[in-house]
Amino acid sequence: MPSRLQSHYVCAAKMRLHFATFAIFAGALAFTAPVSAHHGTAPNYKMDESIVLTGTVTEFRWRNPHSALLLDVKDASGKVINYAIELPSPGVMARGKMGWTRNTFKAGDLVEFHAHPSRTGAPVAVGGCTDSCEVLINGVSPNNPEADSKSATPASAQ
């Protein structure tokens, strides 16, 4: 079954950087599920672009109303950049298709995370998680497979 991101995005280009740290998929956006943070951070991000951040977890903030995942990602020159990925609140992530907990990510985990980049070029992105986030931790999805058949999580907001 195709994921939400796979369904919504048509990848037009893929740029693989040194050390395979991140690949950028820029493409046409058929439509995007709304990502409405509680005070509207969605305009801060390029919601019509998706990047894949591959790196090592340095911190997982499991806090209301904003959570965040911080990753050390290497750029093309091999320089390590600490990337912050904005995530929904624990109340959203613990429910439904995600079923995440505060222990979902641990420092040192190798993560591949599909996210929308900041408009400013700052090393900040938003997870774009509506029903689920597209992510692999050490090669395994943390999402709740049993919840896939449940009704969609009604709240994308934080």
Binding site: P34, S36, A37, H38, H39, G40, T41, A42, P43, N44, Y45, R61, R63, N64, P65, H66, A68, A84, E86, S89, P90, G91, A94, R95, G96, S118, R119, T120, G121, A122, P123, V124, V126, T130, K150, S151, T153, P154, A155, S156, A157
Partner: protein
């Protein structure tokens, strides 16, 4: 002595009868309710009948997004500083809240920022003003009109936006009538009428908000804690919101 006992018993029985009659005609609104993410998150997307002061207040509220695609750091949205969303904004947001119905009051508990509000249904009058106001969640008195709970809310804090669009209401001057009706076992509807001569030339009525019953055991069937703690908000703003929103060429 016997007269005294009889008088007391008479008063008790009479009050109990009145109490039961009032209770019997009330609909049961109890439960956890939520508007889905697809629900309209503004009260009225049309042009509102602003007075000059109301229009100035509306234009002074700078939400993120909208036509301008304003970045979050460029807004003056009160909740960006971990201030309370306020009552009416809470009803527009896709998070669950609970009605707890008691004989003399109805309590609403909001998961989003962990606030609560009381609607007094004990027959008291709607006050002109409460000495301890204004309130982010107002002061409310309700009565039953058939199966509809009609609530008058006063003493609202003018700093709270009514929705994410920045719809304003004037401090102390704004009064809101809410009409709550359970239109189906799993459906609750609300419309509001805002009367606020300082900000609006005439009363206006909102679109209808529809909330679905969240059954126990469902994803949103139990309220959780979602507190906006300034300590967390400041960390979020400094490490995520602001870096993602500072446009490099914007600085002079």
């Amino acid at each position: 002595m016997r007269d005294r006992i009889c008088r007391v018993l008479f008063v008790l029985v009479a009050n109990a009868g009145l109490y039961c009659a009032t209770w019997a005609q009330a609909a049961d609104l109890s439960g956890v309710w939520m508007q889905g993410a697809a629900g309209n998150q503004t009260w009225n997307p049309e042009k509102l009948p602003f007075t000059p002061a109301g229009l100035a207040a509306f234009k002074g509220n700078l939400p993120a997004g909208g036509k301008e695609q304003r970045l979050a750091a460029d807004t003056n949205d009160p909740i960006g500083g971990a201030n309370p969303p306020g009552l009416y904004r809470s009803f527009t947001y896709p998070r669950p809240w609970e009605f707890i119905q008691l004989p003399d009051r109805v309590v609403q508990i909001f998961e989003w920022t962990n606030h609560w509000r009381i609607i007094w249904t004990d027959g008291r009058d709607v006050p002109e003003e409460v000495v301890t106001g204004p309130f982010w969640y107002g002061y409310a008195v309700g009565k039953w009109e058939g199966d509809t709970l009609v609530v008058q809310t006063v003493d609202l804090d003018g700093r709270a936006w009514m929705d994410g669009r920045g719809t304003p209401i004037s401090e102390f001057g704004g009064k809101v009538e809410e009409r709550w009706q359970r239109t189906a076992p799993d459906t609750l509807q609300l419309s509001i009428t805002v009367t606020d001569p300082a900000y609006y030339t005439q009363p206006w009525t909102s679109n209808v908000k529809t909330y679905k019953l969240q059954k126990k055991g469902a994803e949103y069937g139990e309220l959780g804690e979602v507190i906006f703690a300034p300590i967390d908000e400041q960390l979020f703003n400094s490490t995520i919101r602001d870096p993602s929103a500072v446009v490099p060429n914007k600085a002079p």
